[in-house]
């Protein structure tokens, strides 16, 4: 931007280009925005096939060693646990004992890990806090606790500096066959791995006590694993040693046993399938749109498809699969692809309409989950410690009751896990070779950062252009108006003129500040005891309006009428807003692409269209009225609660929407410190409602600042 401005004075070709761009900013923005949306829709077509990038992985190069012997051992464990569940009294402690016993019989080091589930509570400064602050708060809920059982195999060829983690969530109280089966798979692999000679990385098997959700135990264990707590440990030990009435139980220590850094983590789960074949679901999205290295997904996919004959699926938006317009769009792209192919047979853009629909549904869900920032499973906890992790969910064709069928299932699942572990075991460095930033369009297809960034860049490209052109316009405007007056005496005036943008920057800053306040308000509102979501929501709205008025009263009003022409002012204000908005979106795209993309889709049109309503009303031409209507509609739609309700209405039907839903949704978002939450504060529309009627929007800027600091948490 600055460069274009600089060069404007000297008339070089590049300058002329810049001037051309600026003078046709409307056209440019329309073209760029359309191209951006089009590019987004094109992404499923542009997806590439995945490939295993790290050579050291060598998936499937060795034949599987898992045999029926391990499977039958695993069956024993499953049977014992299932028997335990038939009489539920005392199942909790005993099941831990049984699992621990089995582990230590295999020669693994076993310990229990007691944790207190942390209520996911929003704290206003959590975004800024460091990693250790979580430990501090732990003494809140003493009465509730869960017990993880951890077994570690020390690698015969390793030095204990690296480890691979297997996680099986297991609810001892109401665990069903599902969970025992996943235990069975893990156990069969574990028992094999105690005997193999090739192991170079330690294996940690974490049986996570999932009575408080699957995420919490894993997160708690990881936190304790990575933060040595010297004082807490003793108290925990003395406190809980007498809990186990079982003789064996009391021997197991509650101290954390550690291995090295984790190379990868696999979370196993079993689901009742209702499909025709055995499938394997892969869940990869961690908090705030972070993804594990693509190689990890690749090896799982490769082994599952080519070795074990499982069908791999990733999450999809099913409602998109049936939607008409996606289908027709797919047909359009199909015919386009065919046309392209006739031009040059080397261009392989062709993709069948059905593939396109599948890809679009997967891509949409991938975008959605990344944007939401809520991890899709316990694997999300690992990503916070830079460990690549995914959740594998097996689902079976028929019920698990038939023993032969179950054995078959255990064998397949176990072999898959064994293969993955063997590949990861080959790694010499941590995963780094393949992509971290990608979107999946199918288990074997991905869109890399280089491709999807183009669409995003096109979408936001109009922002700086429009900002620059608006600013340049006001600069052009001012000198002429200045010359009418006495040119000499108004030196000061011209100084103020050229610094007038500071005033609008101040306004923008105030609005951002208000956004921050509003986004912190729910913390205080949630302290109110015994309140239902609807009242909370209304209190929130009231308070934010109140704070807006206060802020206007304190900060904005005194200076707003001192400077300048109202004519140019809204343009400068808009330009400042757009600049801040551009910076915010740019930062956000680095942090969490999906959030930025969705935010840009919602807000770029609004930012570009924004125009003082008063002028429109006065204008009374068809164009201005159209513009006004557009502004209003866009303003309403991109107001976060409105967006939420519209989306919900589209997906689930408009009946039964309550205002409280939004509150619930917001609450779930803080709980995960989601970046999206920060978008909410962009409800700062119409802040200038009284005098300027400039639709003002905001927040990504703030959100980024907060988010990145939050990341340390």
């Amino acid at each position: 931007m600055a460069e274009t401005e600089v060069s404007k004075k000297r008339k070089r070709p590049i300058v002329r280009l810049a001037v051309l761009l600026l003078s046709h900013s409307v056209l440019v923005s329309v073209i760029c925005c359309t191209a951006g949306v089009f590019g987004l829709l094109l992404l499923p077509v542009l997806a590439k096939n995945t490939y295993i990038s790290e050579n050291a992985l060598m998936p499937g190069s060795a034949s599987s060693m898992l045999s029926n012997q391990e499977v039958s051992e695993a069956n024993k464990l499953i049977k014992e646990l299932n028997n335990l569940h038939s009489n539920p009294l005392g199942a909790t402690t005993e099941s831990h004992g049984i699992i621990a016993k089995y582990m230590s019989n295999l020669g693994a080091q076993v310990n229990n890990h007691k944790f207190h589930p942390q209520l996911n509570q929003f704290h206003p400064l959590h975004f800024f806090s460091g990693p250790d602050s979580g430990v501090m708060q732990e003494n809140s809920t003493r009465s509730l606790y869960g017990i993880n059982t951890v077994g570690i195999i020390r690698a015969p060829r390793g030095d204990g500096k690296e480890a691979i983690v297997l996680v099986t969530p297991y609810n001892a109280v109401k665990g069903g066959v599902r969970e025992t089966l996943s235990l069975g798979i893990a156990y069969s692999v574990f028992s094999l791995l105690t005997r193999v000679t090739w192991l170079a990385k330690d294996i940690i098997w974490l049986v996570a006590d999932s009575q408080y959700g699957e995420y919490a135990p894993v997160a708690a264990w990881l936190r304790d694993y990575h933060t040595p707590a010297f004082s807490n440990l003793d108290s925990l030990n003395t406190e809980t040693c007498h809990v186990g009435n079982n003789n064996f139980e009391s021997k197991i220590s509650y101290g954390i046993r550690r291995s090295g850094t984790m190379a990868a983590a696999l979370v196993l789960g079993v689901a009742y399938g209702n499909e025709n074949e055995d499938t394997l679901g892969i869940y990869a999205e961690a908090s705030n749109g972070q993804m594990p290295n693509l190689d990890l997904i690749n090896i799982v996919h490769y082994l599952a498809v080519h070795r074990q004959g499982l069908r791999v699926k990733v999450e999809q938006f099913h409602w998109l699969l049936n939607s008409k317009w996606v289908k027709s769009l797919g047909e359009v792209f199909e015919s386009l692809g065919k046309m392209v192919k006739t031009l040059n047979p080397d261009w392989k853009l062709g993709i069948s309409a059905a593939d396109y629909v599948e890809g679009a549904a997967t891509l949409a869900s991938s975008l959605y989950h990344q944007a939401l920032g809520v991890p899709t499973g316990p694997h999300g906890a690992f990503r916070d410690y830079q460990v690549d992790a995914i959740t594998l969910e097996f689902s079976l064709r028929i019920s698990f009751d038939r023993l032969d069928r179950r054995n078959d299932f255990l064998l397949h699942g176990g072999r898959l896990i064994e293969g993955v572990i063997r590949s990861v075991n080959n790694l010499l460095e941590k995963f780094h070779q393949s992509f971290f930033l990608y979107l999946l369009t199918s288990p074997s297809k991905f869109v890399s950062v280089g491709v999807y960034m183009i669409a995003f860049a096109l979408l936001v490209a109009p922002l700086p252009v429009v900002a620059a052109s608006l600013y340049a316009k006001t600069l052009d405007l001012n000198p002429t108006s200045e010359k009418d007056k006495s040119a000499t005496s108004n030196e000061l005036g011209s100084v103020l003129q050229s610094w007038k943008w500071l005033n609008s920057v101040k306004t923008v800053f105030v609005v951002h500040f208000w956004g921050a306040t509003v986004s912190l308000l729910p913390y205080f509102i949630s302290q109110i005891p015994d309140s239902d979501p609807t009242t909370n929501f209304s209190v929130w709205i009231l308070l934010s309006i109140l704070s807006l008025e206060i802020l206007r009263w304190i900060l904005v009003s005194p200076s707003s009428h001192i400077y300048g022409l109202p004519q140019g002012e809204w343009a400068i204000l808009k330009s400042a807003t757009i600049s801040s908005f551009f910076i915010g979106l740019g930062l956000m795209s680095v942090i969490n692409f999906a959030t930025a993309e969705i935010g840009a889709l919602l807000m770029v049109p609004m930012a570009l269209m924004a125009h003082p309503l008063k002028l429109d009303v006065r204008g009374q031409s068809l164009r201005s009225i159209l513009r006004m209507i557009c502004n209003l509609v866009l303003g309403v739609i991109s107001f976060p609660p409105a967006t939420f309700f519209v989306f919900k209405g589209v997906i689930e039907g408009f009946s039964g929407i309550k205002a409280g839903d939004f509150w619930n949704w917001v609450e779930s978002l803080w709980a995960w410190n989601s970046a999206t939450y920060l978008y909410i504060e962009y409800g700062n529309i119409d802040r200038l409602s009284s005098d300027k009627r400039e639709s003002n929007k905001d927040a990504p800027l703030l959100s980024c600042g907060m988010l990145l600091l939050k990341e340390f948490a």
């Binding site: 806090s129 830079q386 971290f436 030196e491 000061l492 050229s498 330009s575 400042a576």
Partner: protein
């Protein structure tokens, strides 16, 4: 130790709290103007207090705000943690420089060190005892001094410093430097008014009277997010800034005492190691300023001279003040060096001190990522080229001194700003506050020389520069996070933002220099045309 305090602190305070020279312009004061002035000053003080309160609020969330471990705030030279470590080493009668932890001045260690005890040990009782002891010694020294000099006021201020934690010291340092900026600004404004009047450019001077640039500059300094962050992050850079500003102030007002303290300060700067090549640059700068500030407003007189006869060089300065200055400077540097020598005598001695302060800064030993441009380069360069490139980089700064001095010799204060900006750009361990102090200074000094403020009217893309700086300075921590915490980015991402920032800074410096040269040209033109009008 007591002697150190006795000598050092009072001299600072003395120079700080001296009633401002009667700056209040004498002009035809209408009542309304006065009223508005009072209103302005009152709002100014409101904002100052607000900024202090804001800082204190932020400081009281030390657990949640990990500013002091951020690479943008804490550099190896300014980090308070390192200082605490050095202090601890010293307390256990080891060399504070052992283990390449601490790299600041030994005097700073005894000055701030005791205040860091709490953060390290976390044992209030013990701390309290020690603090009380320390404070009693200090206040004793102060009392003695204040009795001697008759400044009772100081005691109060000191008590307020002593009564609270060390963190307050930093906010105080900020406030004091803001006050200094304000005072400097007013002085300069007056002198520029005078000079403009003497040139019959009354309208211009009127304009410059209307904007109280000193206030603006001070507020900009106080509310600059970078200063706030540095203050909350408890790096020692607020104190360094204070020292720099103090020396400039001393030079501008050219009071004996202040020149003295300025020189003292200069030496402290040397000891703080305020950047590579600090000695020659700062000395030079100091001399220029003192040269400039020697008579009421030599700033303007030089300029006047130049405007009148461009052929003649503006050499009106006598050698006396320069020699005075050199004399005092040498005395003070010897004095401070002796103090340092005393304090490091038991462990290590002067040689080690030099090695681990200046040596550390000049040879860029610590290559941990910071927002500067040198660490990446020296991490990549081959070992046997290292010395060569060290010389190249440091020469880079030295080379710029002379040409700039020649070109801008009629505006010593602006020259000082340019020097500071350049050195902060090419520093080996810049922190937000010192690196972006270029920004602070550009705003501060631009306010101060409110001529520049006018000149900036020409600065068309100030808007874009502003947004660019905002964007890049936000992007930098994001990239750091991406690289260090998420592991999905790499060092290049982070370094790219550092380079981008350096580019913005260069553009800023170049633009402001050209703006001020343009302004001078305009003045000259006005001056040339005016007499013609009068004749006709």
């Amino acid at each position: 130790m007591v002697a150190v305090f006795k000598w050092l602190l009072p001299s600072v305070v003395l120079s700080l709290l001296e009633p401002r020279p009667n700056i209040c312009p004498k002009m035809e004061t209408k009542k309304e103007e006065k009223k508005s002035k009072i209103k302005q000053t009152s709002s100014f003080w409101v904002w100052v207090t607000a900024s202090v309160i804001f800082r204190l609020i932020l400081i009281y969330f030390p657990k949640n705000l990990n500013f002091s471990s951020r690479p943008e705030v804490a550099t190896p030279v300014t980090s308070i943690r390192r200082l605490a470590e050095g202090y601890w080493l010293k307390q256990s009668s080891m060399s504070p420089y052992a283990g390449s932890m601490y790299h600041g001045s030994p005097l700073l260690l005894s000055l701030i060190g005791p205040l860091t005890v709490k953060r390290i040990e976390g044992q209030p009782n013990h701390l309290l005892c020690r603090k009380i002891k320390f404070y009693s010694i200090l206040s004793l020294a102060v009392t003695i001094f204040s009795q001697q000099s008759g400044f009772v006021m100081h005691l109060k201020v000191f008590d307020s410093i002593l009564g609270t934690a060390g963190s307050l010291l930093f906010s105080l340092a900020d406030v004091v430097s803001a006050m200094l900026i304000r005072a400097t600004g007013q002085t300069l404004q007056m002198s520029s008014c005078l000079s403009l009047k003497s040139l019959d450019l009354v309208e211009l001077s009127k304009n410059s009277e209307m904007l109280s640039s000193g206030d603006i500059a001070a507020l900009v300094y106080l509310w600059n997010p970078f200063t706030i962050v540095a203050c909350v992050g408890l790096s020692t850079s607020p104190i360094e800034n204070l020292v720099v500003i103090l020396s400039l102030y001393g030079a501008c007002t050219s009071k004996k005492l202040k020149a003295l303290s300025g020189t003292w300060v200069l030496n402290l700067i040397l000891l703080l190691g305020n950047g590579p090549d600090a000695p020659p640059r700062k000395l030079f700068l100091q001399r220029r300023c003192s040269k400039g500030g020697k008579n009421p407003s030599s700033d303007s007189s030089c300029q006047e001279e130049e405007l009148f006869n461009q052929s003649k060089l503006p050499i009106t300065f006598s050698w006396k003040p320069v020699i005075h200055f050199l004399f005092w400077a040498s005395i003070w540097s010897v004095y401070v060096l002796v103090l340092c020598g005393i304090s490091v005598k038991q462990n290590g001695g002067m040689l080690e001190m030099f090695k681990s302060t200046y040596g550390f800064i000049l040879t860029v030993e610590d290559l941990s990522p910071n927002i500067g441009v040198l660490w990446y380069f020296f991490a990549e360069v081959f070992e046997f080229f290292r010395n060569f490139f060290l010389i190249v980089f440091h020469m880079n700064i030295l080379v710029m001194i002379l040409p700039l001095a020649i070109r801008l010799n009629h505006r010593p204060c602006f020259l000082a700003f340019v020097y500071i900006a350049i050195s902060s750009m090419l520093k080996s361990y810049p922190s937000v506050s010192s690196r972006l102090s270029a920004q602070i200074y550009i705003l501060a000094w631009s306010g101060i020389l409110n001529i520049v403020f006018h000149a900036y009217a020409d600065l068309q893309f100030s808007f874009f520069l502003f947004w660019g700086c905002v964007g890049v300075s936000l992007l930098s921590p994001v990239m750091h996070n991406l690289w260090i915490w998420r592991g999905t980015g790499n060092a290049n991402f982070y370094y790219a933002t550092a380079m981008a920032f350096a580019c913005f800074q260069i553009v800023l410096v170049v633009e402001s220099v050209s703006a001020i040269l343009n302004y001078d040209r305009k003045l000259r033109k006005l001056f040339v045309t005016k007499p013609v009008d009068g004749k006709s």
